[in-house]
């Protein structure tokens, strides 16, 4: 089947008239697939954000009818228009799942990786174009399964994005859909990661050695290894949980488990802790899957807009590799409170402290790169600059969580939520926005509007901090992350309850701040300022192809003569020397 699809798609590529389906839906061109991923990822990102806005209403005004949407949700989800606790749990679980697995990763890896990586290494396409297409389709299918699960009896998955057993084992049908959806998403990232690694190894242009690779490619390369090796254990876990739910096994159900006052009639003997081990063995590397491509994007934008080479390229690369390796042996720092023992806890807190070192090296190198630069403050650069302190806050607030004794107090409080959202929201998502503004001219041949861009950036920065800073204050006061009423039932949370309204209104402000982005994005596709192939005067190879690049990418054979960031080379005619410009020319 795939064979014939490909043949027809291939035949279509050689004809003047491409039907819409073969050009945009069953395309094997990495650029189209990258755009498919980006657009789908942005849609899911927005959808996940909408789920969150509904939750934030409930947290700020518990029990009050949800404006606009309340009446549409039905009596089961929202009796009288107010969100029911069960539905709140679905919103929470699906917000996490959608943002991580269907929003940020597909954007960062599937979107930017697919579009930019082959161009940056001077390749005509990915090594396996058809597998690339399958990877996107599998992702889309997984996404659809997840969305449909909202309409199953009992609703979507509601055991948190971590799906902790045994709660998830006995949850309604939506959890089975979650597991099936995850199997599709895992398949997608597996196919994608193989493609990325092989493409990077095999299709580099002549002269492009590994130490001449742009940092973005290195980030994608290491990320692909994490996806390749960390996802299969989650697939194993998903299979085991499916067996528990469908075939009645007890992998995660202990003997004598009591549910609603009744001892569960199962064989027992399972281990709830096993799920946590398998899940976090994926999900900790997954954290680095979220952040490494973001660092890659920021590095590209920073080097280009400071007009000087990245500070410490080699230490950046070595830190990245070390980070990727270490990310496989820190997972149990999510499990300090499970009673796994102090010896294990000591081991994992030590590895956790060690892994913070390469992260700090990378952040420091990026900040030092600004030193003495003639910085251009365009929108892409603003987002990249904001990434640095935001990721810094996110990283530093993680240290107390990585040490087992402060974690006893902070575990499962809103502090944790504040911490990782600083890493992922104003961290990774800002980097993704930087990437959208930076590579938009390459995709469309037109630049996005700078004024609208700044209208997007500044309010987003303010609102992001207004959402997540109060969250950490609430968490330090001891408010749990999973309360459908925001913690009102507990007296001790009284002094910090007022912050819920601040955060919720900031979240709605953040939604409004995205309007200039949507306007700018869609308007610029047709009406943006037309630009040439290299509007930012950049050195890396993607800017040496036409904008937008044709099928096959480059109009002439590419030979690389230089490192990736030769900006402001003394004695050069211009302040940038493209990688394919011969030395001495």
């Amino acid at each position: 089947m795939a064979e014939t699809l490909h043949e027809r798609a291939h035949a279509a590529e050689h004809h003047e008239e491409l039907s819409f389906w073969w050009k945009y839906v069953f395309s094997t061109d990495h650029k189209i697939i990258g755009v498919q991923y980006t657009v789908t990822g942005l849609v899911f990102l927005f959808f996940g954000f909408c789920l969150m806005m509904m939750m934030r209403w409930q947290l700020a005004y518990p029990g009050q009818p949800l404006p606009l949407l309340g009446g549409l949700l039905g009596d089961v989800r929202a009796p009288g228009g107010a969100i029911a606790p069960d539905f709140y749990n679905q919103l929470g679980a699906m917000h996490g799942t959608i943002m991580v697995f269907m929003g940020v990763v597909p954007l960062a890896v599937g979107g930017f990786g697919n579009f930019v990586l082959p161009l940056q290494i001077g390749a005509p396409d990915m090594a396996f174009p058809r597998i690339n297409m399958l990877s996107y389709q599998s992702y889309l299918l997984g996404g659809v399964v997840m969305l449909v699960s909202f309409f199953l009896p009992g609703g979507a998955a509601q055991s948190g994005w971590t799906s902790y057993a045994p709660l998830s084992d006995i949850a309604p049908m939506g959890q089975t859909a979650w597991l099936l959806g995850m199997v599709f998403l895992i398949t997608s990232s597996l196919l994608g990661s193989i493609n990325f690694i092989v493409t990077t190894i095999q299709l580099r242009a002549k002269g492009l050695t590994f130490m001449r690779l742009p940092f973005f490619c290195w980030a994608q390369f290491v990320t692909a290894f994490l996806l390749l090796l960390a996802f299969p254990p989650l697939e194993a876990a998903a299979v085991l949980q499916l067996m528990d739910r469908v075939a009645g096994t007890s992998f995660f159900l202990p003997t004598g488990l009591v549910v609603s006052g009744q001892v569960l009639e199962v064989s027992g003997g399972g281990s709830p802790l096993l799920w946590q081990h398998l899940f976090w063995f994926l999900a900790h590397p997954e954290v680095y899957v979220l952040i490494l491509p973001a660092m890659g994007i920021v590095a590209e934008v920073v080097a280009n807009n400071t007009r000087k080479p990245l500070w410490g390229y080699r230490s950046l690369v070595y830190s990245l590799i070390f980070l990727g390796f270490m990310s496989f042996i820190v997972w149990a720092h999510h499990m300090f409170l499970t009673g796994m023992g102090t010896t294990m806890a000591s081991f994992f807190q030590t590895t956790t402290m060690i892994i913070s070192i390469p992260s700090v090296v990378i952040l420091t190198a990026l900040i030092l790169s600004l030193w003495g630069g003639a910085i251009r403050f365009n929108t892409a650069m603003l987002f990249a600059l904001a990434f640095l302190p935001m990721f810094g806050i996110g990283g530093l607030t993680g240290l107390p969580l990585g040490l087992s004794s402060p974690d006893v107090f902070l575990h499962d409080t809103l502090y944790v939520i504040g911490h990782f959202h600083y890493v992922v929201a104003p961290g990774t998502i800002f980097a993704l926005f930087a990437g959208v503004y930076y590579w938009f001219p390459k995709v469309t041949g037109r630049r996005m509007n700078e004024t609208l861009g700044k209208l997007h950036f500044w309010p987003s920065l303010v609102f992001m901090n207004l959402i997540f800073m109060p969250m950490m204050i609430q968490g330090m006061a001891g408010v749990s992350r999973r309360l459908a009423d925001g913690g009102q039932t507990y007296d001790f949370s009284d002094p910090v309850m007022g912050l819920n309204k601040v955060m919720s209104h900031a979240a709605y402000g953040l939604a409004l701040a995205q309007i200039p982005f949507f306007l700018n994005f869609f308007r610029s596709i047709r009406h943006g300022e037309p630009v040439g192939p290299n509007p930012w005067n950049a050195t890396t190879l993607e800017w040496q192809a036409p904008s937008p690049p044709p099928h096959g990418n480059f109009t002439e054979p590419i030979v690389v003569h230089r490192g990736p960031y030769e900006y402001s080379v003394p004695g050069a005619a211009r302040d940038f020397c493209p990688q394919n410009q011969p030395v001495g020319a």
């Binding site: 095999q202 390749l228 299979v239 067996m243 075939a247 096994t249 064989s267």
Partner: protein, 196 residues
């Protein structure tokens, strides 16, 4: 547009893209089965008592299956070796033989499963049976996948021979690597589940 290094090896890496791809895929498979074996260890260590596999499972049938699967690995290598000697019809014969041996494995496995079900030994019965059915079931899916791939190269996929014999040889080699891996998983499963 041609993607380079699909048929010819890239000089500085000495490998075709497909070869690297299949090894990466196998690495991820190692992580998949590795996680399941780790599950087995964790559940067994935590269990108050654990049955000896031979008291529940049929060791002679599993031994026969081991022989069948190892034989199929031999025929798989012969298929690839025939292609290297540019003998398509022999290669197709060996590929079909591999598919048939895979089918024999599945039939024997089905007989084993059936015997269990007749005695009401279902996955929900005990942790041992749960992990037994999960591991062997997932392995059987892999055997089935390998059979489909091999049947494709023995049947419609072999048309590639007339336009690009080297490419077909490479692809059969990659299918063989997968097949040997599936075989290897069984070599681990057999002692772990039946004998220990």
């Amino acid at each position: 547009m041609e993607i380079p290094y699909t048929v010819e090896a890239r000089p500085d890496t000495g490998l075709t893209s497909g070869k690297i791809g299949i090894w990466l895929f196998l690495a991820s498979e190692v992580m998949l089965f590795g996680a399941l074996f780790a599950t087995y260890i964790m559940l067994r260590v935590g269990a108050p008592e654990w049955p000896v596999g031979a008291t529940i499972l049929n060791v002679p049938l599993a031994t026969l299956n081991t022989v069948v699967l190892i034989t199929s690995s031999v025929t798989m290598v012969m298929a690839w070796a025939s292609l290297m000697r540019r003998d398509l019809s022999k290669a197709r014969m060996f590929l079909w033989a591999t598919v048939a041996l895979g089918g024999a494995f599945m039939v024997i496995k089905a007989i084993e499963y059936n015997a269990k079900f007749e005695h009401h030994l279902y996955p929900s019965e005990s942790t041992f049976l749960a992990i037994y059915f999960t591991l062997t079931g997932l392995h059987a899916f892999h055997v089935l996948g390998g059979m489909v791939i091999n049947a494709y190269f023995a049947g419609p996929g072999s048309k590639l021979w007339h336009t690009n014999p080297q490419w077909l040889t490479n692809r059969v080699e990659h299918a063989g690597l997968f097949w040997h891996f599936v075989d290897l998983v069984w070599i681990f499963l057999f002692p772990v589940l039946y004998l220990l």
